[in-house]
Symmetry: C3
């Protein structure tokens, strides 16, 4: 039988050994677990960034994979420690919006607030729940402990509101919701929200883009273009450069689409 996989998505970096501690805890509890890094390089405290990284990757893992995701500025405070089970995956982390896309895309079967200390490290700290609570829970889960052993059902969970693009006077007004590592500007305009209409122009700041390319290489080197990216969202891109730098755009910047 295949080994259980536990993926990690955090803002810990690696240079302090915090991510290493999480791996060690998991392997100590379940030596058979296969620990796989999605990222430890999420920007510090960027919960939405972690939600994106997870959304771009979680569904490609085998059924039964547990995804541990911890960007947790509220550690030790009011926010609840969470275990979510969907039809295909489990998710463990803080209830602060990091699983927003999971709630949007998955059939959730269970949501549990972690409270059973039997499955925590002894004397958990108030500063490092990834090591002391989330890692051991993920490890016990991967050993087959039932979801309801970990605590009581969660009544409601926190979800970040991702603004939908709005259609007004024939123009679709969206915004940039993520900037990726290449400097591509990912918008909230999904393929579906174009309604099959033909684009006349896409405007970002002062830049007008007149057509949708099919691939990065269709855009001339050094030129700004637009395409439907690998997450099926409209992306503003600069072939072999950074659209973020060229357009001085950032998360929240407006993107306006007009149609033929």
């Amino acid at each position: 039988m295949a080994k259980p996989i536990i993926t990690l998505t955090t803002d810990f970096g690696t240079r302090d050994g915090y991510a290493g501690a999480v791996k060690g805890v998991i392997k100590s509890i379940n030596p058979d677990a296969e620990v796989t890094d999605i990222s430890h390089e999420i920007e510090s405290f960027d919960v939405l960034g972690a939600a994106f990284a997870l959304n771009n990757s979680y569904r490609y893992f085998p059924r039964g994979t547990t995804h541990l995701a911890v960007v947790d500025p509220g550690v030790g405070g009011e926010r609840q420690p969470l275990l979510i089970r969907s039809e295909d995956f489990c998710f463990v982390g803080p209830d602060n919006g990091i699983f927003s896309f999971v709630f949007q895309n998955e059939m959730i079967t269970d949501m549990v607030v972690l409270s059973n200390k039997k499955y925590f490290l002894a004397e958990p700290s108030t500063t490092f729940h990834a090591r002391d609570i989330f890692a051991p829970v993920a490890a016990y889960l991967s050993r087959g402990v039932g979801v309801n052993e970990f605590g009581r059902a969660a009544k409601k969970c926190f979800k970040l509101v991702i603004q939908e693009p709005r259609l007004s006077k024939g123009k679709l007004r969206g915004e940039i919701i993520h900037v990726d590592g290449f400097g591509n500007l990912v918008t909230n305009v999904a393929a579906g929200s174009l309604g099959g209409k033909k684009i006349a122009a896409i405007t970002v700041g002062r830049r007008r883009i007149k057509r949708l390319a099919r691939s990065y290489s269709e855009i001339k080197e050094g030129e700004v273009g637009a395409l439907m990216g690998s997450s099926d969202l409209l992306e503003i891109t600069l072939n072999q450069g950074s659209a973020r730098e060229a357009l001085r755009s950032k998360v929240g910047s407006a993107v306006t689409i007009t149609f033929k």
Copy 2:
């Protein structure tokens, strides 16, 4: 039986393939070894930084884990290549202080200077012992080769001196010994060195902090605070920001504690 784990802690980065070469050597000698990254992002030549990362993580791994740690500015020179065995773990790397906390915290049973070329790559370079000496030794060790096969007993080993905080005129004078990736300032003030006394104020530069928080989230967003961090050392922190940037502090900066 569980597979043997070998962890890696280096300042190699990953973009040159040096860390990849280390992994390849290990897997070629022992295909059953499970290679786990603690970090390849230690700052170049920062031996103490590597010692911290290791100290924050090594003890969470299963008994029997081998920790390979190489920040090695003296490679090819006088410093000795080392294998250390404690009751629970093995450690392989240069004798330059990288294992300072290991000596402090572990019951050491063996210290061996690596000299048996049978367990090195053929014609080891003078510039890359991680690949040519430390990786193969760790791999053979994980295959069950006895510690004393690798060389002669080491007479003494190098240990970095971590300054202890000093009590003078009722004030505890410590210093910052590490800055983590979030910009938290980790001091040399352990919970024990407070002697159970109640803190009146913690002073760093011009900033006075009047109480010890229990968690990051107890501190208001954007405010500087202090707490006992996940390694049980006093930490100066800025909720959802970088205390390093706000206080312009660095390793060596003074931290003074007064008591009620």
Copy 3:
């Protein structure tokens, strides 16, 4: 039997989840594959940098390892998706020069242009072939699918021209071809091209270096020196610092060697 290893070398970073998606796809197709990161931190679009990273590491992995390498500015365009088999390894990635050193060093037995959609993800995107084409091909390959199942034989493949140093008027004129993460300047001067002659001086910019050190530690701290690096190429180095910063040199800068 040892598990099949698939290594990853990309410029994706990790924070967007793109590398995570690649790992997930591989594990979903072949749960037995062991996925190992060489790097996801190659500079964006730096095909030659990826070729170096791969060259510094691929040959240390066990026979039978598959190396997936994707720095792919031309994704979705004319460049062909490639599978290469040599006597010891397989390589999967775009035909854009990323395998230049592989062609130089390996006995190639097969080169195949990937075209059999049976081994792609359904409806592959035009923007993310690593996830949709290269990862599944590597995974099926590791499950034992024959090389020729994936497509037709490639007629010719793209190879970056790495300038050889030239001997002129008794001087050997080379150049810097790579700067590593420590700031070491790696040149195109291989040990062999010195022809056994004794070096009188090595000149980089205004700096003259009068001898070849055997190891980094032979050079005084803070001084610039030269040595044959771990890839058997002449390297300009600054002990415990960055030669790149000290000499303001970069890829393409001239290096001149005079002999005794």
